[in-house]
């Protein structure tokens, strides 16, 4: 995709400047909006490839904006918000937003999220599943339903495998507790977060070198989980 167009909906001028500068320097086209109204207009008119949506817009409620944006465009939406708004973020993700960034965040984190979102939106949802290499010497072979770690096959229970496969399909993207429970256990289990946590812990014990310092299966506190697609490039990038 040559020079994707990113719509930045953000009311804070300094934040807009940081986003604009960073994105342009990395080869993206940027169109800006300071209000939800303006953002919705741009989304309809300019047909952006991705939307960065600030959660604290003065004129509209975040859920409303997300719903209307979804109607106006199929472009992935990345929600930008402060820490402590986890409920709101989960609601927006379940409403169809693709990912989120918690302020304050660094440029590396921003670019990584955008890359992942653009890649997933370019892929048709039923793309052929092929073996995926993950960091830390882990390979997931979707056809043979095998997980190889450092050349040795790891035995996963069916549920563990299903959970891992769900994360692999959306590698790099956050998945909410609800989305994972629905996908792996079914719609009746969306309230049983502790199922998910227990299986995630088991998966970490089998795949991670140090389960208390996961490098692959990342917890997004209050939101869900994310399968990291590559090891953190430097320590300072990790958060």
């Amino acid at each position: 995709m040559p020079n994707p167009l990113i719509l930045v909906v953000e009311d804070e001028p300094h934040m807009r400047r940081f986003l604009r500068t960073t994105l342009r320097a990395n080869g993206y086209h940027v169109v800006e909006a300071a209000t939800a109204r303006e953002g919705l207009m741009q989304a309809g008119g300019r047909n952006p490839d991705l939307v960065l949506l600030d959660l604290g817009l003065p004129d509209r409620d975040g859920r409303e904006v997300t719903r209307e944006l979804r109607r106006a465009t199929r472009a992935p939406i990345i929600v930008v918000s402060a820490r402590g708004q986890e409920h709101e973020k989960v609601a927006l993700l379940d409403l169809g937003a693709d990912d989120y960034l918690t302020k304050p965040f660094g440029a590396a984190e921003l670019l990584a999220r955008i890359r992942v979102a653009l890649r997933h939106s370019a892929q048709p949802p039923d793309a052929l599943e092929e073996p995926v290499f993950l960091a830390g010497g882990i390979m997931v072979d979707a056809i043979r339903r095998q997980v190889i770690r450092d050349g040795e096959e790891i035995h996963l229970t069916p549920t563990e495998y299903k959970l891992l496969a769900t994360l692999v399909r959306q590698v790099g993207r956050v998945l909410t507790h609800r989305q994972l429970l629905q996908e792996v256990w079914g719609a009746n289990y969306t309230g049983q977060t502790h199922y998910l946590r227990v299986y995630m812990a088991q998966l970490r014990h089998k795949l991670e070198a140090d389960p208390t310092r996961p490098r692959l299966l990342i917890t997004e506190p209050g939101i869900g989980y994310r399968l990291r697609e590559e090891p953190a490039r430097s320590r300072i990038d990790s958060r």
Binding site: P104, P158, T193, H194, R213, S238, R239
Partner: protein, 516 residues
């Protein structure tokens, strides 16, 4: 005198005594002289007189005279007396009856007065005791109402001065009995004159309630309104006196309590003000230090005519990043502090393995912990704990930050956890200088700094205070384990009651075995 209801049985008893005496005399009439008969009847009259008041004893005397005349004085069965000597007997009987009755009445009245005094004293004592035991004004008033209700068999309401206003005020209640004009008038009168008014008093006696002002030493603190069960029967003066004494005791207690509460409010305000000042000065320091370094580095980079090498630029930029992250943590902590302080800390528990919030905290603290190897030791059979993951993450971040900051570079930090009955205990330990003995509790206070002079700008000293707020909100405890100069060990316990609903460990283990 007493009402008729209580004396009818006494008259009946008097008649009975006379009847018995008469029966005895009739049975022995053959052997008795009339004078003996008179003695027996007189004995009956004395008996009645000793037992009952004047009325029944007079009644017994008259009855005895008639019986004597009718049955025992010839001519029998006719009311006449030939012998004038019998008039003397009649007279003696009357005098004895009157004297006995009078004496008895006096004794009884004295006994009743003593009993009333005793009751009065007991009532005052009981009230005083209950008021002293009441922890606050509300329970004090509840206790007072109970006593007044018991004393008057009525229904008591207390209106405190700060809610009372004037009687014309809309605050004045509109429910019965206050909706009655005479009660309102009596209330006004009572407040104006600071004297009881209404039922059982001489002022506005028609009002269907007794209104007593609560007279404090300097001002009227309220008004007691007693609605009697039976407005037709006023209280006896003695009973009214007791009620007035009770009300005075209540007024005194209410006034004292209100003064104490006012003093406490002032004290809390002064304390809060002192803390605000301390917080502000601490904050302005803790926020300005990183800000100064950020501003300095950023402006140096911006103004750089090209003298900085790549490494210098990198150093400056890394400093900006690290300092802004530090500020970010500080601000998060401050916001949590406000939530803890204002009681708005809502804990959203969910069952989860402890390693999850710990893992997130370790990831967040990756950079500040660069100089410290961290080892974690969580047994694999540690149960799930019901915690708020964001808040517990904050606890771990604060504990790890403290450990990293107060220990020399290179020294290890350990995080251990184990199960104890009903709880999971977590320990964060370091190899630093430790906490001075005797200060193990003080470190949890606000604005505590290990050494303010030697270690400036290392945080507002809120970290452990917030940890305690969060752990307490989870129903757990956090404390410093005595370490005898060997580093610092902070321990926290998290209660684990029951198990996660619907989660069957057997199923989990079973599935694992099936597959393996």
């Amino acid at each position: 005198m007493k009402t008729d209801r209580t004396t009818v049985p006494e008259y009946l008893a008097a008649a009975g005594v006379v009847a018995v005496a008469t029966a005895v005399c009739l049975a022995l009439r053959a052997r008795f002289a009339p004078i003996d008969v008179a003695m027996v009847l007189l004995a009956g009259v004395v008996l009645v007189g000793a037992r009952y008041r004047k009325g029944p004893s007079l009644f017994a005397a008259l009855l005895s005279i008639l019986t004597f005349d009718f049955l025992f004085v010839p001519p029998y069965y006719r009311l006449n007396a030939n012998d004038s000597g019998y008039y003397l007997t009649f007279g003696v009987m009357l005098v004895v009856a009157l004297t006995m009755g009078r004496l008895t009445t006096r004794v009884r009245e004295q006994r009743e007065a003593a009993a009333e005094r005793e009751r009065h004293t007991a009532a005052l004592y009981a009230l005083d005791r209950d008021l002293a035991a009441a922890p606050d004004t509300d329970s004090l008033l509840t206790a007072a109402l109970g006593h007044l209700n018991k004393e008057t068999s009525g229904e008591t309401t207390v209106l405190l001065a700060d809610t009372l206003g004037s009687v014309g005020d809309p605050c004045w209640p509109h429910d019965p009995p206050f909706d009655q004009p005479d009660v309102r008038i009596a209330g006004t009168w009572a407040l104006e004159h600071t004297e009881p008014a209404g039922w059982s008093t001489e002022n506005c006696a028609d009002a269907a309630a007794l209104l007593l002002p609560l007279r404090g030493t300097s001002q009227t603190v309220g008004l007691v309104v007693i609605r009697p069960a039976d407005p037709g029967t006023p209280l006896s003066p003695e009973r009214l006196g007791t009620v007035r004494n009770l009300v005075d005791i209540i007024a005194d207690a209410v006034e004292r309590r209100q003064l104490a509460e006012r003093n406490e409010r002032v004290r809390v305000e002064i304390e809060a003000e002192r803390l605000r000042t301390a917080l502000l000065s601490s904050l302005s320091h803790d926020l300005r230090t990183p800000l100064a370094s950020i501003e300095g580095s950023a402006s140096a980079l911006l103004d750089d005519p090209g003298q900085f090498g790549i490494e210098d630029r990198h150093d400056l930029l890394e400093g900006i990043l690290a300092e802004s992250r530090r500020m970010s943590r500080l601000v998060t902590n401050l916001l949590n502090m406000i939530r803890v302080e204002s009681g708005e800390l809502s804990v959203q528990r969910s069952w989860q393995p402890l390693e999850e919030p710990l893992g997130v905290a370790l990831l967040r603290m990756d950079e500040p912990l660069r100089e410290h190897p961290v080892t974690t030791d969580l047994p694999s059979d540690l149960p799930l704990v019901p915690v708020d993951e964001l808040l517990l993450e904050q606890v771990f971040v604060n504990l790890l930050e403290n450990a990293a900051r107060h220990t020399p570079a290179g020294t290890p930090i350990t995080v251990r956890a184990w199960q104890e009955p009903g709880e999971v205990v977590v320990e964060v330990g370091d190899q630093g200088p430790g906490i001075p003995p005797g200060e193990e509790e003080a470190v949890f206070g606000r604005f505590y700094r290990a050494d303010p002079a030697a270690d400036p700008g290392t945080g507002a000293g809120l970290g452990l205070t917030i940890c305690r707020g969060i752990v307490t909100a989870h129903g757990g405890r956090i404390w410093i384990e005595p370490s005898h100069g060997q580093g610092t060990r902070v321990r926290l316990s998290l209660p684990v009651r029951g198990v996660a609903a619907g989660l069957d460990p057997v199923e989990v283990a079973g599935e694992a075995q099936d597959h393996a």
